[in-house]
Amino acid sequence: MGEALVIRNLSKRFGGLQAVQDVSFSIQENETVALIGPNGAGKTTSFNLITGYHRPDSGSVSAFGREILGLKPHDICTHGLARTFQVAKPFGSMTVLANVMTGAFLRDKNAGVARDKAREAIEFVGLSAREQTPARDLTTIDQRRLEMARALATQPRLLLLDEVMAGLNPSEIDQAVALIGKLSQRGLTILIVEHVMRAIMAVARHIVVLDHGQKIAEGSPKEIVENPEVIRAYLGSGYVHAPTARAN
């Protein structure tokens, strides 16, 4: 098993704000890694740096052995890294099917082939009943499902999920956790930014904690919940991790 993503000394400054400072971590292939930390810790900025939406001031990012720093977002997607957005960005006027076909066209420009692949991805996330619904009419969880299906249709090797659980109710979170478990079983490498701790505990094998743009801890879920600095910066002293059944 090789390394899917290697991030070295990544830094980004916005004016007077050091959004990300000297962050390094790596992800093994077929591993699910969570990136956690308080609001403003630099999680989404890290995502944007990895996927080409921002240019880092320094550092390097390589995916599957190739340097991807400085590439445009669409090139990075072509290299097998697909992302979702913290605020879902569906193509509102398009149907669910058309949204996902847009993703599928990356690998095959034939509309028939793209339609079949899109249907497969839609079924995988459980949206088949909504195939002909305009994306803007979907509920929050269905929009998240759609974003995942659209990303999957590009046939990624590494999926970057930015707060896919935000705004979901507990039973929807369970569904989302199950879906991520299913993706991981399919052999996908996943990097997930999330605040919902019970979801993280259920899906992540490895956790990276950011605070004020710096990495303050990294380790297995068990190590992280017991790490005093993580408790101080993020989890809070009252945090007791309730054991969750791994959903899969």
Partner: protein, 332 residues
């Protein structure tokens, strides 16, 4: 034309028959002139709609390409004796070449800033043709030498001939749009129009797609410019690079239904026909009234139906279809 239902094919065939027969039945040159304008502006709308409608890059500078098409063919004809048929294609190529630097500059901007930049490009071109008299006749413009009936030089005695050329251009534009709409390109264009960042995230090379559709849109618009100059036998910077052309191109699409195949055609039929009829009925007695009524229609459409008239028609069609389906169900 795979995938078209029998009914669609039949109605298309009927539409084609009516359009082809029209100048044989209607002989009034006033009516033919309106038809030609409707076809021409539909075509310009269709060309604009590829980029402005599907990809929502709201250009108000398409007069730049209309004018370049018009001037290229006219200069080639008058200075070099080259047929406007060739000049038309040459004008399209010149427009494409011009769209590259213009696009490279304007696409750095998004939203209203993009629109303003495109207005500027058309205005700058107009000024160039106004001020540089050695380039092309300056502000006076020039008339196209009348050669009588010379089909090879795109000059005809019969107005119907111009009608068929305009009809051919519109058909070309619609076929291109139809094919693009159904291909990956159509999906990519709409995706860019909806959310450029999200489109990039699924591997859409947004700058390249925008550049390519701009090339095509500019090319088609230039063909219209050549045709129009040949039709009115006159060219000057103010008509060739007229801001009205830019506005009309966008307006007919917006009124008819932005980002739809037939939207620009429906919009033009309504706007051009209304404005021509109002002009002839009210223009002489109550000067200016036709413009007021015209503006009121525009405001009504944009306020009540921002999706354009095609949205209204689709809804009505679906309602009727549902009612028929329900009735058939009840009978069975």
């Amino acid at each position: 034309m795979r995938g078209l239902s029998k009914w669609t094919l039949l109605s298309l065939a009927m539409l084609a028959a009516v359009l082809i027969a029209l100048p044989l039945v209607v002989t009034s040159s006033f009516a033919i002139d309106i038809f030609i304008r409707v076809l021409l502006f539909s075509f310009i709308g269709v060309a604009w709609n590829l980029m402005g409608g599907y990809a929502k890059q709201l250009s108000l500078g398409h007069a730049a390409y209309f004018g370049l098409g018009a001037y290229t063919s006219t200069i080639l004809q008058i200075d070099f004796g080259i047929s406007p048929w060739i000049g038309m294609v040459a004008g399209g190529v010149v427009a494409m070449l011009a769209s590259l630097p213009i696009g490279a500059l304007c696409f750095r901007l998004r939203g209203p800033y993009f629109t303003i930049a495109t207005i500027a490009t058309a205005q700058v071109l107009m000024l160039i043709f106004l001020k540089f008299r050695d380039l092309a006749w300056g502000a006076e413009g020039t008339t196209i030498p009348n050669l009588g009936n010379a089909p090879l030089m795109m000059q005809f005695d019969a107005k119907a001939a111009y009608y068929y050329i305009a009809l051919g251009l519109l058909t070309l534009g619609l076929v291109i749009t139809y094919r693009i709409e159904r291909s990956w390109m159509g999906y990519y264009l709409v995706a860019i129009g909806e959310d450029e960042d999200a489109a990039e995230a699924v591997g859409v090379n947004a700058p390249r797609i925008k550049r390519n559709i701009y090339l095509l849109s500019a090319f088609l618009t230039a063909l219209a410019g050549t045709f129009y100059t040949q039709y009115i036998y006159f060219i000057d910077p103010n008509t060739a690079f007229s801001f009205n052309v830019s506005v009309e191109a966008a307006l007919v699409s917006i009124v008819g239904g932005i980002g739809t195949l037939w939207g620009p055609v429906i919009g033009t039929v309504l706007l051009e026909a209304t404005s021509a009829l109002l002009q002839s009925w009210l223009g002489s007695s109550l000067g200016g009234v036709q413009l007021t009524v015209y503006s009121l229609i525009l405001m009504a459409v944009i306020l009540w139906r921002p999706t354009g008239l095609i949205g209204v028609m689709t809804e009505a069609y679906q309602r009727v279809a549902q009612r028929i389906a329900r009735r058939n169900l009840a009978r069975a």
